[in-house]
């Protein structure tokens, strides 16, 4: 799962990690099927915590996709919709991977901070943001 734009470009760079898996993708912009030919791609509206109605609609749509796909593992590079997907997925028994965007070089994103409460794999792409009790650093998309 990744929002459109830079989050999506980062997720694409992680594809070798999914080799051998049955993968479906969830994003917030149309037109990305061309990047992942043959895979199932779902689109939900984008929304942030500043837009309560949009957030509600997006949450319902994410839940619907997850109920349909029943993922074992959810991997996201953010942003807010990715965090929502991890939250709902966790309730459904999925294991979660949050990779904070490489754009967050000085502090974790809001979703990135919250994702620490989900268990699962919790990563930053900046070594100086990793800490004991915080996210781990395990390399970056570039």
């Amino acid at each position: 799962m990744a929002s459109g734009g830079g989050h999506w470009v980062q997720l694409l760079r992680l594809r070798p990690a999914f080799e051998g898996c049955d993968v479906s993708y969830l994003t917030t912009s149309g037109g990305y099927q061309r990047d992942v030919v043959g895979a199932r791609v779902f689109v939900v509206n984008d929304a942030s915590r500043w837009n309560k109605i949009g957030l509600g609609v997006m949450t319902m749509r994410v839940a619907w996709v997850l109920l349909r796909e029943r993922p074992n593992v959810i991997v996201t590079t953010g942003a807010a919709p990715g965090y929502i997907a991890l939250r709902i997925g966790k309730m459904m028994g999925a294991r979660t991977v949050w990779i904070d965007s490489i754009a967050n070089a000085e502090e974790l994103s809001m979703g990135g901070r919250l994702a620490g409460n989900l268990g699962g794999l919790w990563l930053t792409q900046w070594e100086h943001l990793a800490s004991e009790g915080g996210p781990q650093y395990a390399g970056a998309v570039v």
């Binding site: 990690a17 991977v97 490489i102 070089a105 000085e106 794999l121």
Partner: protein, 160 residues
């Protein structure tokens, strides 16, 4: 061709106005800008509010140089195609973004070959005047570091 992009969400007129004025003054006719949603319109360059992912990819690939806000979509795409890119960060104080993470991104990526930073519109004017001398780095691979890929792969296959 010069491809200018402000990303998938917001307009960034402070940057586009500089590029538009520069194209008008210099007579550059090969500029295409994706300008985001807004009321202001350029008059010296070709533009569109948004482009599809397919068009974004094609224009990036066909460009000689990319000019972008300091977003990762623009930066990573330029690196993947080995294109030189000039990046200018959005500022929270000017309501161009909710925080200043693009300023941090611009600083962190400024040392990379092929990436030129303009911290504000004055620096952007200087960069545009030297645009033809910019060269891209070698194209990077289309995959993240092995360390990151292995960490995710191990987690996926590590049964709960």
């Amino acid at each position: 061709m010069i491809f200018v992009t402000v990303g998938t969400q917001l307009a960034f007129d402070r940057m586009i106005r500089v590029v538009d004025a520069w194209a008008g003054a210099s007579g550059r006719a090969d500029v295409f800008a994706q300008i985001g949603p807004g009321a202001w319109r350029p008059s010296h360059i070709e533009w569109s509010e948004f482009v599809t992912p397919g068009e974004f990819d094609r224009r990036s690939r066909e460009s000689d140089v990319i000019i972008g806000h300091a977003g990762m979509g623009a930066i990573l795409t330029a690196m993947q195609y080995g294109k030189p890119i000039v990046i200018m960060p959005r500022r929270a104080a000017l309501r161009e973004q909710r925080n200043d993470h693009q300023v941090a991104t611009a600083r962190r990526f400024s040392h990379r070959q092929g990436i030129t930073v303009a911290m504000d519109e004055h620096e952007l004017v200087d960069r545009l005047d030297q645009l033809d001398s910019l060269v891209g780095a070698d194209a990077i691979s289309d995959r993240a570091s092995d360390q990151l890929i292995n960490a995710i792969r191990e987690f996926i296959h590590d049964s709960p």
